[in-house]
């Protein structure tokens, strides 16, 4: 038998079951207003915080699925406020919209617009979730007539160890991925390090003090305020704040090469700022180690044929740029495409965008591409049409109702005033 409460008005009020209470909570306006407010605060704080920490770091802090709670900062000072992470706030908003905006909402022609609009936004949130978990971004800097089947992943580094052959050419490298390095971050606690062993190499590589962003300083003998790591060959690394205007990470770390034959270990400093490999010899053979962005293998090759660019006359403001490329489809058939600003090449879930153009140097042309794979790439277009249809339908319905109401109000008043005027005129006569 279900429990019953008697309200003050005398009506019998059924006590709600727990699932109903949960549903009521998730479908409530209160939750909608709260989540929207929290989301608004997160967006606002994150916008201001970007000026200090840059876009990538701020986005990671506020919007990544690993951010359960956020303590916002303004000008680098913490605010005494704990907010849920934006990803999880969006999850709550998603549930709220499904429960309140689709299931609980009154059904009828009057509510058709909001239901459709809610559906569009729900789909947009789903798009966001899919994008967050599945999209990968990279860039490819190409040189005229060069062929490329890889790109560099944005915001990720890697450590590459390789051997030089007898003609001093690089052999295929052993790659240590970003995920294996990022937990070796330098902090004031216990030093963290990891030793990597390679099947065919006569040495191990020990990595420690990994930095997201560090600058190489020359040790001039003066006492330093803070020395994070060792001084190697007169230089050392120090963690520095990322430049928020460029938002580029200068990944760096300390590395020790430990030969298996017991010979002396070599200490090295690796940094993303150094654009060439460091070399060392073990057992008379030459090896190299470097820290480029993480390589991303493409499903097809791209060859840059031509790169066009123009500036407005007398200025350095670009007016146009495009690239002619040759690429191979899945059947190995060569195809030619022109990639322009706002007109990318889409194929097999990979999209190639013209991102930059450099004026030719010594007659050689260059183009920069951004490569993205995102299964939800085109979903926002559908979301847009659905939301627009719902909103415009509702808006027009409400507007016509309002206009009708105003006209009804003014008509009797007009006719009344006319009658009064006529009566007045009659009386005057």
């Amino acid at each position: 038998m279900s429990k019953q409460n008697i309200s003050t008005s005398g009506k019998v009020k059924k006590k709600k079951s727990i699932p109903v209470l949960i549903f009521d909570f998730f479908s409530s306006y209160l939750l909608a207003v709260t989540t929207l407010t929290v989301l608004g605060l997160l967006v606002w704080f994150s916008t201001l915080e970007q000026t200090v920490y840059g876009l990538s770091a701020t986005a990671e802090k506020y919007y990544h699925s690993s951010a359960y709670f956020v303590i916002p900062e303004i000008n680098g000072s913490k605010i005494p406020l704990i907010l849920p992470g934006a990803y999880w706030t969006c999850v709550i908003l998603f549930l709220n919209m499904v429960c309140g905006g689709i299931i609980r909402i009154r059904k009828g022609i009057k509510q058709l617009g909001p239901v459709i609009a809610h559906f569009g936004i729900i789909l947009l949130l789903v798009t966001g979730f899919v994008d967050h978990h599945n999209s990968v971004h990279g860039h490819m800097d190409t040189r005229q007539f060069g062929t490329y089947d890889y790109a560099w992943k944005r915001g990720k580094t890697s450590l590459e160890v390789f051997k030089y052959d007898d003609e001093q050419n690089k052999t295929p490298p052993y790659v240590i991925k970003h995920e294996m390095l990022e937990d070796l971050q330098h902090d004031s606690g216990t030093p963290k390090y990891r030793v990597f062993k390679f099947k065919d190499l006569p040495f191990d590589v020990e990595v420690r003090n990994f930095y997201d962003n560090a600058t190489i300083f020359v040790d001039n003998g003066n006492p330093r305020e803070k020395t994070d790591g060792a001084v190697i060959d007169g230089i050392f690394l120090r963690a520095t704040d990322i430049d928020p205007t460029t938002d580029l990470y200068m990944f760096s770390c300390y590395v020790t090469i430990r030969p298996h034959d017991g010979s002396e270990a070599r200490n090295l400093i690796l940094s993303r700022t150094v654009n060439h490999p460091l070399t060392f010899s073990v057992e008379g053979k030459l090896y190299g180690i470097e820290m480029p962005n993480e390589i991303w293998k493409m499903p097809y090759e791209v060859r840059l044929v031509n790169s066009y660019g123009e500036f407005y006359p007398g200025t350095e403001r670009p007016s146009y740029y495009s690239s002619d490329i040759i690429w191979k489809d899945s059947k190995g058939v060569e195809k030619t495409s022109k990639i322009k600003m706002n007109e990318p090449l889409r194929y097999q879930g990979f999209t190639l965008y013209q991102a930059s153009w450099t004026p030719p140097t010594n007659g050689i042309e260059y183009s920069g591409f951004v490569i993205v794979t995102n299964p939800a790439d085109q979903w926002p277009v559908t979301c847009l049409w659905i939301s627009f249809a719902g909103l415009i339908f509702h808006f027009i319905m409400k507007l016509s109702k309002y206009i009708g109401k105003e006209q009804r109000k003014s008509k009797p008043a007009d006719s009344k005033s006319k009658v009064n005027a006529k009566a007045k005129a009659k009386a005057n006569a």
Binding site: Y29, V33, G40, Q50, Y321, M341, V372, I403
Partner: protein
């Protein structure tokens, strides 16, 4: 509250709005004390009409000289035009006249009060006598202090290099701005107007102007081969003098020409689209020839050192070799000036000479000839298509005139308020409606005209958004007024319109750049500019209308002006409708922006400040709508939230641009602008507090009245 007090309060509020508007346009209406330039020779109207359509290339496009002159004058003088006193008569100097003087009649231009200085104390430090704190100075006023300025400029540049621009004090920033203006001004003048010291030298060797240098090779060689009666030593010394004189002569305009900024000449090659400055082209050749001269000196000295002391006999022996070194320098190492450069310099010299004649016919014919000389080239390149229509656009001054009409409409609205309930009420209502409609149409015509000139949709940069938002607000409010018919929307429209145009004017003066400039490659998409940019801008307009009506409601209730329940209800319905309107356009605009971002940069959403700003508007209006539907806010709550919409819109529209990060950053920061933004937020905050207090007080008095009624 006493009725009289209420009216006083409302009038004071209105006065505050008008005072703010006047503060904004003070630059336009403030009459400076006229500078007396008695010997100024004004150009006639026909000369100026002819001159303003001279095509020039600036900021990536070909435009009439008038547009260029307006931008430069705005940057230096802070206004488009200046008044001076000539023989006790007021003379108006248009931007075109001022620029013609700056280029071709520098002696006249130097007397004009060109340089606006907002804080004259910065000049006082150099021993200058100053008049007002905010004043205008001529080049003649500043000339005696230029070397001191130069020294200070170097120190400031070193500081910038060391600690960045942000480290500068306000005074240093103001000094830097003045240095930049002086530098631009000096680089405008014709580099071929040789100063008097050189004129003397020119006359000595029988040459009158720089263009005479073009035949220098033949002249020098001929001169060197003459003088059969001279001794070999005399001949050698003569060659030395010749080389030195001609190098000095050829080099003289190099220093001015190098930085000359007069892109008056179209290129001769079809595939080249960059116009050239004759001074710069001259400087390039002169620089090379100067190097050739230095090489000649080294070679000659080496030769003479090897020869040893030279007497007449020795001079005779070595003359042949010496002459060989000389002719190699003159004939082979020195580059001739290309024909197109020679022609340009001759044109510029002719124009300078004739414009200084102070004879209308001579001046007019000079300008006509100059235009004719390059007309075919410009026409064949299709670069003159928009010159005439741009002049018409400039002359119509749409937004300034639009502002005047809206101010007139505001006066009619105020007059109508005074006549409420009288037989003139409706007449004044329709006059106000008509005048506001005319202002709206005028501003729309201005936007359409700009759009036609730029050959793109109406909104492409921050400046474009301002007249567009004003036009959208006026048009929407006029439409709502057709339904509500009580005149409130007219009052709101006029105040919003004045505020918007004043903002546009202030921004225009502060930036002093050509806002008709072509767009960057990534923005060059008429499809996206039409869909995303227009939609999001309409969303801003919707948000601002919402806020303006809500502010009217809060002030009206505070001062008891709107005590009728029906009016309150109507205003609430309108605000609710406008919130919905804002949602439709902001949401659609924001998603469209994401889709554009996905097509251009490969990501739908990047949490860039501008994107976040747009999202904040969407979130805020959603909060309002859901809070209203959930019953968390009542009438006053809705209006307080409505007023806060202005802060959110301003954050998205303006504030994010000053953050200096993100793909949409406009790359400028201004302490004044930030100050204005924070003041705006504070005013909105204050209004919301007032609204809450009024609501609480009213509730309490209602409670008390109810209690009293019950007691009775």
């Amino acid at each position: 509250m006493n009725k009289k007090l209420r009216i006083l309060g409302f009038v004071l509020s209105l006065a505050l709005v008008i005072a703010a508007a006047i503060y904004g346009v003070r630059g336009i209406i403030k009459k400076d004390k006229l500078s007396v330039v008695d010997d100024y020779q004004a150009y006639s109207k026909v000369v100026l009409t002819e001159a303003k359509s001279i095509p020039v290339q600036d900021d990536g496009r070909v435009k009439p000289l008038q547009t260029w002159a307006e931008t430069l004058m705005l940057a230096m003088h802070g206004q488009r035009g200046m008044d001076i006193q000539v023989n006790e008569k007021k003379v108006k100097i248009t931007p075109t006249a001022w620029l013609l003087d700056a280029i071709f009649r520098p002696e006249q231009a130097d007397k004009l009060p060109t340089f606006r200085v907002d804080n004259s104390h910065i000049l006082e430090e150099y021993g200058m006598e100053i008049k007002d704190l905010r004043d205008r100075y001529s080049m003649n006023d500043l000339k005696p202090y230029l070397s001191k300025f130069d020294g200070e400029n170097r120190l400031i540049n070193e500081k910038i290099k060391k600690s960045g621009r942000d480290s500068l004090t306000l005074e240093e920033k103001q000094m830097t701005e003045l240095f930049e203006a002086i530098s631009i001004y000096l680089n405008l003048r014709d580099p071929f107007a040789i100063n008097s010291r050189d004129q003397e030298m020119l006359e000595q060797i029988g040459l009158q102007k720089v263009s005479d240098v073009f035949g220098f090779k033949d002249k020098i060689l001929g001169f060197a081969k003459q003088s059969p009666n001279s001794s070999p030593t005399q001949l050698i010394n003569g060659l030395d003098s010749l080389s030195s004189v001609f190098n000095t002569l050829a080099r003289q305009p190099q220093y001015y020409g190098k930085y000359s900024n007069l892109p008056l000449f179209p290129p001769t090659e079809k595939d080249n689209d960059t116009w050239f400055s004759a001074g710069q082209q001259y400087a390039l050749i002169a620089e090379n020839n100067d190097q050739a001269y230095q090489n000649y000196i080294t070679k000659r000295d080496k030769f003479l050192k090897a020869v040893g002391p030279v007497d007449d006999a020795k001079a005779g022996e070595i003359f042949k070799d010496y002459f060989e070194i000389f002719t190699t320098y003159i004939d082979k190492d020195s580059k001739p000036f290309p024909k197109y450069v020679q022609e340009a310099i001759i044109q510029q010299e002719t124009l300078t000479a004739k414009l200084n004649s102070n004879n209308e016919t001579t001046q007019l014919s000079a300008i006509k000839e100059f235009k004719k000389k390059y007309a075919n080239t410009v026409h064949s390149r299709g670069e003159d298509a928009m010159i005439d229509t741009e002049i018409a656009h400039n002359d119509r001054n749409y937004f300034n005139n639009g502002l005047a009409i809206i101010i007139l409409a505001l006066f009619v609205v105020v007059a109508r308020c005074m006549l409420l309930g009288t037989r003139f009420d409706r007449t004044f209502y329709w006059i106000a409606y008509a005048v506001t409609s005319i202002a709206t149409l005028y501003i729309i015509a201005g936007i359409a005209h700009r759009s036609y000139i730029m050959d793109r949709p109406p909104v492409g940069n921050l400046y474009d958004t301002m007249p567009f938002i004003v036009a959208a607000c006026l048009a929407l409010l006029l439409l709502i007024e057709l339904i509500s018919k009580d005149g409130i929307m007219l009052a709101v429209a006029t105040v919003l319109g004045i505020g918007g145009i004043v903002l546009a004017k202030q921004y225009e003066v502060s930036q002093a750049t050509d806002h008709l400039s072509p767009l960057r490659a990534v923005l060059k998409s008429n499809y996206w500019l039409t869909t995303h940019v227009i939609t999001i801008t309409l969303g801003y307009a919707g948000g601002l209308i919402t806020a303006a009506i809500s502010v009217f409601y809060i002030l009206g209730r505070t001062f008891g002006i709107i005590d009728s329940k029906a009016v309150r209800k109507k205003l609430t319905s309108i605000v609710y409708g406008m919130v919905a309107f804002t949602l439709v356009f902001s949401l659609v605009g924001t998603i469209l922006g994401g889709i554009w971002g996905a097509d251009s940069w490969g990501r739908f959403w990047g949490w860039d400040p501008k994107e976040n700003g747009a999202l904040l508007i969407v979130l805020w209006v959603l909060i309002i709508l859901h809070a209203r539907l959930g019953g968390y806010i009542k009438e006053m709550g809705l209006h307080c939230c409505g007023a806060f919409t202005a802060a959110i819109v301003v954050f998205s529209w303006w504030h994010v641009n000053f953050l200096g990060v993100g793909l949409h950053s406009y790359g400028f920061t201004s302490a004044d602008a930030m100050g204005a933004l924070w003041t705006f937020y504070a005013v909105i905050g204050l209004l919301i507090i007032i609204g809450i207090v009024v609501s609480v007080v009213e509730k309490e008095s209602k409670k008390r009245a109810k209690l009293e009624k019950n007691e009775l």
